[in-house]
Symmetry: D2
Subunit: 372 residues, 4 copies
């Protein structure tokens, strides 16, 4: 890379959770400068937040339209290379589409949009323009997740037979959205979050992880979506039976009312000869189980001077892959062979998962086909 | 107790797995003497096995009929008090019924019978005769399982919302039944095992545990039963969505093709204020999770001189409870208040679970009612 | 074995902890009948305890002298084969010596005696008479401890370089001996327990385990013994540097004031190519660590129908080995090749450990030689 | 903070391990710009490394003297604020002293210098100039380490009685320094590393952590330092008995030949009422043990939207604290009350630990006083 890439941010004001995560991830490897932002729809917050992250005043914008418009007028050696969108779900599509239209690459927090249709429109625009899009499915950035995927791709366990993926959280065990919890408020509001609650927020992570690691595709599902805290409009819990395209069986569980759980994403995949297990809360470990041999504990960086990684590093790994790709594109170099990050196609499958799981949840039929 | 109880055993010859377990469990607390047996249908094995466990020659019988018949003729100070049946599933009903008819109490390995109808017949006989029946659902014998049940009964977590129970094993990952594995052979044979495979063998344990700890009853289920190793006649894997009678949602997973897993029974139950987690492979630990407090690690016997317990002690706990009850009955004392062991009603629910889960597995409807 | 062995017990009245453990261990495998006992120095307790375990009245003795005397007069087909001694440390030697003199084999709870000299006298008597002696160093009975020893004997890790053994307990964190805790009372009393407290009670277990698994012998040690709860006469905590006969370095830690710990015995041994780790609180697991390969998790009974074992099974394994040996001796058969249990030589090393560690604790010199 | 701080780096060329870590840590929070560097004594490496991290050519220096000299001539709005020194131990003192003399604040990787005398000279200069110095004892940056310290400061466990700290690594199990491993080469070379090997490299971390969390000071120690891989000049393993200023006992173990271990720093501290345990390999967890209550699992960020942290975040936390302090100093604001990072006094204790532990290792006396 000949220079640092320049990033502009939509959303992520000073009290936002995920915005700060994106900044740390973008900063960590020293490949990206955050130089512009429309950080809040509240002008005071936008300005304060800009100061807090040392943005120049003239690049602290009050709306994403203003940012994209003005940045597109700057000279090539100054203007942002890409726009990162970290607003609530309902506010992903418009800035993403505008950014693409004005020639900016895009990073979007998942789920990609509010609806499957919007996702398909973005896909069309990405294909037309050739611009890059990173969808931050964080968990695909962990080294041991990638190790797992590589092992399954090599077929070390033979045919995959069974996939268990679970994502219990407990933070919505009370009706926190009525007690001033801003995170809870928009995530439980169909207008801001979309047609699914827990399934959209974390079920999509689980489904993505299952497909990402296994290389398989879900073909049918049978969902039991529940509202376990009375008074809520969207599912806060769901259990889903899965069928995969190679005939494997699966179960996906996602809950935000598993009281006492933090963020306990875990996946287990079994094949003919053995299986593997990875858990987000101990992310540097990958358990490799064998039918007739002792279980092995694979550890990230166990043989050498490599720092253990956690959530923020996984996030940063996605940004780094994106930066490598984008930089190669800008500098006219071939795409580095190891570049690998979730993109608009992952976004479309995520939205289709939401659509299908909600449809199945309402159906009396056991199986609903997963169609994109 | 004024004297040791006397036990006669049906099945459990020298190469049997579960027979040896029952003997250890019966011996451990020094409350029971094993004094008679019809240990094998093979006369040589029956005799050798009798010698191995020091049975007198004249009480080493060749058939269960002979044992029950001859023992019933002995004087009250000599004859067995109860019959323990550890044969394959298909050979539970006949000796149990005969024993009850001849006035002997009964211990049976689970599942109680081959069919729900047989279980109901046993129930009728038990009710008529007032004789005792212990069904060895081992996992209900663990101290921390009973601790969990007691806490939920007290309502420490408020209303129960969610139950995850899983039981992955890997030992049927290959077609071992064709390679001389006797355990595999009868368990995968519908004539000997019944209409379900993994669901009958271990799914029933999982279902029993969920109901035992929670105190709730399954009302509906939605099953996906699979034969993941080609060439098998019965399910070797299954995933089941559950509804409980208080409205709680649940998932039950049982697999014998989760390659690399031993016996990884685990249950998690969540209520309004917190949840708990117990795993058979670390049975002296009970995790207590709270919505807004640190997770607690409850340990069996942590405050005092109590030995940690494992599978065999759990088994022995059931026998001890049964011995306390039986002894009180024989001696005309009231039933000790803490006596607690699975009995014929648990057996009926187990058989109904098998019936329902198989029916649901064949249905295109999402939900099948659980009816006894 | 042609018949069950007959055991008489000294100590182990109804409120004793370790006596009950010995009975369960002796009962478990069905190889031993407990037929006589001098269970308490309190005659009432002795009688009640005898009833509780179904001893005949005429073999419920009031003193060990009476038991040994009267049993020695019984015919060979009736009298006890061996005496099990589970009294406090100070009351081990006399009954053991008397039993040996009268021709009975002996089982003793550790530490073998109150002093090294007494242990040497027992050794002399055992050698003279050819009688068997089992010293119940429980931890050497765990399957994974034996697995560890076998692997080290095979040299899978090359030369052993380092041994860490630790045994933190917390139950003496308060001055419980003044609050009516009988276990605490005798264990902290030099007259009943001997010249060491924690080092005698649990440090000996740790030292035995280190030598048992590694096959090495301690040659020098440097001890820091502490009384961390004021008012106590014996060490309740100690840290010891070790040198082994092959040049390996070691550390032994034993504490009974590690508040909040149960019984957290753990050992780690490292060689040139890898190491291993075993912890009493997860006894069916043995971690095998490799310099340049993933860590392996060895599990007892993971490939087959073998029940997981805990403390009581480990104890029973010692009794079973002893029973196999004793039975062969009685029946004139050769000693079965796999027979393996701690005996009087282990007892002598244990007493020498106590002597040396106390001497070192009082010394200003860094290293004190370990001499027997 | 009104602006980002500017950092210049000494050492940390493109193949260095710890240099990259410092950059990630400095970058992560977006508070620091790396604007200058003397990254290698090899001019080619220095230039390439400068390009790799996007340094301007005119601030890519070939020696630290050049960097400090030229930067000191730049205007206040351009020149670096502080110098970060990540060279091997022997090359810490000279650049640190020169930086301080020229008015630059300093960040140094630990151990602070090659000798205690050098550390004292730095201390004198820091005191004279009022400049800031951050010593990157990483482990003190973990949130749960700080939580542990806070709890002990509040006295939740009463008087501290016992401290176990251990740091096993396995990466020097072979004579890697002779096989081209650059990290091994300088760390095992007394000229570059100082008078201790494992004790200087990781024993100092362990000692610092014990004092940092407990708030106690080591007063005496008894060391057994070993060279377990023949052919080495410095200790690769050591076990140390400790006495603390409140009378508590302790053990410190550090080994780089614990084959199969990664970086298994772990500390356990026990007081009158309970204890705590923290392990670097699961850094977001703090176990809180109680004498008569269940153990609690404290988790960083369990109640809210806080990302789990790992090694790099811990490192970044130190930089952030340093940045907050430095920024306040530059801007004339009072020191923020929560600012907390290891400094030159920690460096002096670290060097005194090395001196004392080596002296004790050579002594025949049991206890050597720890004097600064």
């Amino acid at each position: 890379m000949k220079r640092k890439l320049r990033m502009g941010m939509v959303g992520g004001g000073k009290d936002a959770f995920i915005g700060a995560i994106h900044r740390i991830a973008a900063n960590m490897d020293g490949l990206i400068d955050i130089v512009a932002g429309a950080l809040s729809i509240n002008p005071e917050v936008a300005k304060d937040s800009g100061k807090m992250i040392f943005l120049p005043e003239d690049r602290t914008y009050l709306t994403y339209e203003e940012m994209i418009e003005k940045e597109s007028k700057l000279t090539a050696d100054k203007r942002i290379d890409f726009v990162t969108i970290v607003t609530p779900n309902f506010a992903h599509f418009a800035p993403a589409m505008l950014a693409l239209e004005k020639g900016f690459h895009v990073v979007i927090e998942k789920p990609i949009t509010l609806t499957l249709d919007e996702a398909k429109q973005l896909k069309k625009k990405v294909d037309e323009t050739g611009l890059l899009l990173l969808l931050t499915h964080t968990y695909s950035g962990y080294p041991m997740v990638r190790q797992a995927r590589a092992m399954l791709k090599q077929g070390v366990f033979g045919k995959i037979r069974k996939i268990y993926v679970e994502y219990p959280q407990g933070w919505l065990s009370k009706l926190s959205e009525r007690e001033g919890n801003a995170q809870a408020a928009w995530r439980t509001d169909p207008k801001k979050s979309g047609k699914a609650g827990a399934m959209g927020d974390i079920g999509t992570h689980a489904a993505h992880l299952a497909e990402f690691i296994s290389g398989l595709r879900i073909t049918h599902l049978c969902a039991d979506l529940n509202i376990l805290v009375p008074g809520r409009a969207l599912d806060d819990d769901g259990n889903v039976l899965l069928k995969f395209d190679n005939g494997a069986a699966g179960v996906l569980m996602a809950s935000q009312v598993a009281a006492g759980e933090e963020n306990a994403l875990r996946i287990r995949i079994y094949g003919e000869k053995g299986g593997l297990e990875w858990a987000q809360q101990e992310p540097n470990t990958l358990l490799i189980k064998w039918l007739e041999q002792p279980t092995q504990i694979l550890r990230a960086g166990s043989n050498g001077f490599i720092a253990p990684e956690a959530y923020l590093e996984a996030f940063a790994n996605l940004y780094r892959n994106f930066a490598w790709h984008l930089s190669a594109k800008i500098e006219g170099r071939p795409v580095p062979p190891h570049v690998d990050y979730p993109s608009v196609d992952d976004g479309i499958r995520g939205m289709a998962f939401i659509d299908t799981v909600v449809k199945s949840g309402q159906s009396r039929e056991k199986w609903t086909p997963f169609e994109v």
